[in-house]
Symmetry: C2
Subunit: 381 residues, 2 copies
């Protein structure tokens, strides 16, 4: 019980923070596994389809629901986008997102809207493929995974063409769209002409649309710029961004394009962009606004409660620290990190009996570390 | 045998090209697997180490050797960098690269060079870890994989610090380095001071060094800028690039930083940057120069021989097409695409017997497609 006499307050806190950093377990196989592969039967397409699924970190242990990203050309894009989502989430740039990759059976047939001169065996099956996505795949995903309604559709080249097509054909099915180097020159710029007429009649429904082309010549670049021009003229609630990525080719645009697209859709999500949000209630307010934008309750990340609680503990603002932890508990009642902070707070305020209770709770929850054992031993002595 | 009467020349070629595009088989499980995980025994560190390995597309079937990238903090970076290499290679921005990810056992201990005030149980084991990398891991990789000597070392934060440390401690072990937001403020800017003295005495040995910081405050940004200043002053053969990535934080810098670093190391590799290389001998000359830079024979990609051969076939320059295919054969004697082009060329020049021979060879090599069966049937009739 003579802990306090021996160690400086701040040093204890640093040790405790170090101990809590060890809480994050990590699975070895997660290093090399990007997702799971399923085969599902499509009645609409009358064939089997391969679907690749990536679940965000913590999905298995958690209860929350996730935004869903539907990704075309999964055989080329899935592994990269899954790893990218992982990275962007870990860096706090986006929330955890469930990724659904659709592997091609017949790419030319499925990703192209029907045109007058198409041989229907080889091109123009876009409508049927969209029906598969919305009437079979989306229900399958909802049934098998914890999802909430905000969904993204993303594609490249023919996949980008299909993405643009969907924004007008069934705009309410996805809330955000990423179209990279879309093949909008196809069928005499069919989709560009459609957009011109469509937006005369209809206000855009999606929340966000991101479109990019690389440093590439030809019809794709030209037609996409025309399309962007039409969308940029819309004075509605639509969030639209068009970019030319000078360092990318038609092929390599999927690398930086998905990064830019995701950052655009989730603009405002990363708190580091807002150094003025230096109180927990300002952060909660910010997330309330984001929640309104995305149409569901977006929770303040645990890390924020931890950060603010620790700050108060360092400056010995015990009451405010307790208030932050009570807010933390409201949103994350079962959190191990919360138990750890409660233990630390009680230790620092001299309530050793309570502190011991929470440290032992940590132990019983499977947390093991040298500093934890040492503290429990000292508190028992 | 009345094929020519029925179809226009160009249309045949397009069908053949379409058939050959189908040659590229792709394994379903490759969509969701990023690599293999090994456990190896380190005598130097007296512990087991986890090593994650990604092999580039075509590795299993091929004979060629590959550049090797050694990546620190594999538990956070491996999946992303493996997928990124895949993408950059497919887009023609870099050659196929073998990725070796080193999973941490004790990150603080291994990635920090020894400093005066370090508790050696927790910090400062950098030299021993470097010995493990160069005396145990590199030989293991050479023994188990087809490698050639050009190697890259890449790391972030503490991993970036270790990377910078290695450029001076054993500069000849890796030919290129990527250090992202390196923790150069550590131990009173120990490595920055060392660099200042070191480059007074020594010319830099590595071929390329890429360093970046994000839009981040604190010691890391300040000390890294000082370090960059020292390296930028070197008037030697060193290729050095320093960037501040404004849209990245200390955490998210690994996303764009690895892209920029790899593009810098392999600057000149993507032929799209050189539209003036419009003859096969110019391309071969360009690759000869790249080969000199990288210190080993860098082969003209198969796709280039295919592209130029097809161009000549479209313009009916048969002799030149034959010459290109003979060059192609010199470098890729067992290529299936080469057999396919030989078949097409013989078909187009009317040597149906030879054409049939090569189409049947394709068949016996396991290539199956509707158009291939149709052509074989027509040639036999």
């Amino acid at each position: 019980m003579y802990l306090f006499g021996k160690l400086h307050l701040l040093r204890i806190i640093l040790i405790l923070i170090f101990a809590s950093a060890q809480l994050t377990a990590f699975a070895q196989e997660a290093i090399i596994k990007a997702g799971k592969l399923y085969t599902i039967e499509s009645e609409i397409l009358n064939e089997e389809r391969k679907i690749a699924v990536f679940t965000p970190d913590g999905y298995a242990e958690g209860q929350v629901t996730y935004h869903v990203m539907y990704l075309l050309d999964a055989e080329w894009n899935f592994k990269y986008v899954a790893a990218l989502l992982d990275k962007l989430t870990a860096a706090g740039e986006i929330p955890g997102i469930l990724l659904i990759g659709v592997v091609n059976n017949n790419r030319n047939r499925d990703l192209t809207p029907a045109g007058k001169n198409d041989n229907p065996a080889r091109f123009g099956g876009g409508k049927k493929f969209l029906d598969f996505l919305t009437q079979e795949l989306q229900p399958w995903v909802k049934q098998n995974y914890r999802t909430h309604p905000y969904s993204i559709l993303a594609g490249h080249s023919f996949g980008g063409l299909f993405t643009v097509y969907t924004t007008m054909e069934e705009p309410e099915r996805f809330q955000a769209y990423i179209a990279l180097s879309p093949s909008l020159g196809r069928n005499g710029e069919q989709q560009v002409k459609k957009a011109d007429a469509y937006y005369e009649q209809n206000a855009p429904i999606p929340e966000s649309i991101y479109v990019a082309v690389g440093n590439e010549g030809g019809y794709t670049a030209i037609s996409t710029k025309k399309y962007a021009h039409i969308l940029q003229d819309q004075e509605s609630g639509l969030r639209f961004k068009f970019e030319k990525l000078e360092d990318s080719s038609h092929e390599s645009i999927t690398i930086e394009g998905f990064i830019h697209g995701l950052k655009f859709i989730y603009e405002g999500f990363n708190l580091e962009q807002f150094p003025e949000l230096d109180e927990i209630f300002l952060v909660e307010e910010h997330y309330k606004k984001l929640s309104e934008r995305f149409g569901y309750e977006l929770k303040v990340p645990e890390s924020q409660y931890q950060r603010f609680a620790r700050e108060q503990m360092v400056t010995k603002e015990w009451d405010y620290a307790r208030f932050i932890l009570s807010q933390y508990e409201k949103h994350y009642p079962g959190s191990i990190e919360l138990v750890s902070l409660k233990a630390d707070l009680n230790l620092l305020t001299g309530d050793f009996k309570e502190a011991l209770k929470y440290y032992e709770m940590l132990n019983s929850l499977g947390v093991e570390s040298e500093s934890l054992s040492r503290i429990i031993k000292e508190l028992k002595d």
